[in-house]
């Protein structure tokens, strides 16, 4: 009877899990993590990880989005990846003590399931399911990074802007993106004027509407037509299948 109750409780735990990596775990595996997971809300701009610094905590977004940024010596900051409810940040801490390679900043405010590094490592050692999750997610992120490296080399700012808007809307599950153009220009590594002119053009075509600090997607199809194919390649519900990864 008790074990049946436990199974029910575990099933409920999975059902309510908003982060896809956690929801994808076997119920018993998630139950191992659950006591150590705490929920935090973080506003835009919160820095979770800094390059070269130890990964103290692992973050699973439930809502909102984290941006991974590479900082150059000149002080430029370029986004190399974004992580929403489909992923996690700092996951490799499960394999032992690690330093972060990128800065991880909350780009869209949200709620995050957070676990401290040490307990996560201990649970990972004991749980093949969690080690598998880390490995599979690494494969997906690695594939995405390769696609985006190609994208940055050959696709123009407009195609990347359209791709970015769609990708972000998917990750936060909303067509209202609380982002400034200043911020977008940093993310895409182009001048703010360039983003403004492109956003004006998109607005004229009825694809988006923008105001101070907010971009609303009105016509996804127009953005999809303007985006490079990278959007479809890295779509969170498709990329794992392309790799044969069950995530």
């Amino acid at each position: 009877m008790a074990s049946q109750e436990a199974r029910l409780a575990n099933a409920l735990l999975l059902q309510n899990q908003e982060n896809r990596l956690l929801a994808n775990l076997a119920a018993e595996t998630l139950a191992l993590l659950k006591p150590a997971l705490k929920e935090v809300s973080a506003p835009q701009g919160t820095v979770f990880l800094e390059p070269g610094e130890p990964i103290e905590q692992v973050y699973f977004p439930m809502t909102g989005m984290i941006s991974l940024l590479v900082l150059t010596k000149d002080g430029d900051m370029v986004e190399t990846s974004t992580v929403g409810c489909e992923g996690a940040v700092g996951l490799h801490r499960g394999w032992g003590e690690r330093q972060s390679f990128t800065r991880a900043t909350v780009q869209v405010a949200g709620r995050f399931s957070v676990i401290a590094g040490k307990p996560f490592e201990e649970i990972s050692i004991a749980s093949p399911g969690i080690r598998e999750m880390i490995a599979l997610y690494t494969e997906v992120l690695w594939a995405e990074a390769q696609q985006l490296a190609a994208c940055n080399a050959v696709h123009d700012a407009s195609a990347r802007l359209c791709r970015w808007l769609l990708q972000t809307a998917d990750r936060i599950k909303s067509d209202q993106l609380p982002l400034t153009q200043e911020f977008l220009s940093q993310m895409l590594g182009v001048r703010r004027t360039t983003v403004t002119l492109l956003a004006q053009e998109l607005q004229k075509r009825g694809a988006i509407q923008y105001g101070r600090g907010r971009i609303t997607i009105l016509k996804r199809k127009t953005l999809e037509a303007g985006a490079c194919e990278c959007y479809h390649v890295i779509q969170q519900d498709k990329l794992p299948h392309k790799l044969g990864v069950g995530l």
Binding site: D156, A157, R191, T193, T196, A225
Partner: protein, 95 residues
């Protein structure tokens, strides 16, 4: 610091209504050149526009046109007509 506005123009126009502070006209020219390069970089061309006739205009805070750059001058060996090694096709169509 002087304030400059940037605007793309052909038979219609797209303008940056916020503009930006820049130290002088040289800085405005540098900025405009970078923007022109960013807009014309890449295989697909901005939103499938043909930029060859477009100009990037720079105005000062009085609305006086102080600079005009032809976007066609900024398109550098992007092999726009060749197949893309990534998507294997030519220009995209805009609906």
């Amino acid at each position: 610091m002087p304030h400059y506005y940037f605007c793309l123009r052909d038979d219609e126009s797209v303008a940056d209504t916020e503009g930006m502070d820049l130290p002088d006209l040289d800085a405005a020219r540098d900025h405009a050149s970078t923007v022109a390069r960013e807009l014309t970089f890449g295989r697909d061309g901005m939103l499938d526009r043909d930029w060859s006739r477009w100009t990037l205009l720079v105005r000062d805070s009085d609305g006086q046109e102080v600079l005009s750059l032809a976007l066609a001058d900024f398109r550098r060996g992007n092999s726009r007509n060749g197949p893309s090694p990534v998507d294997g096709r030519g220009k995209k169509s805009w609906p």
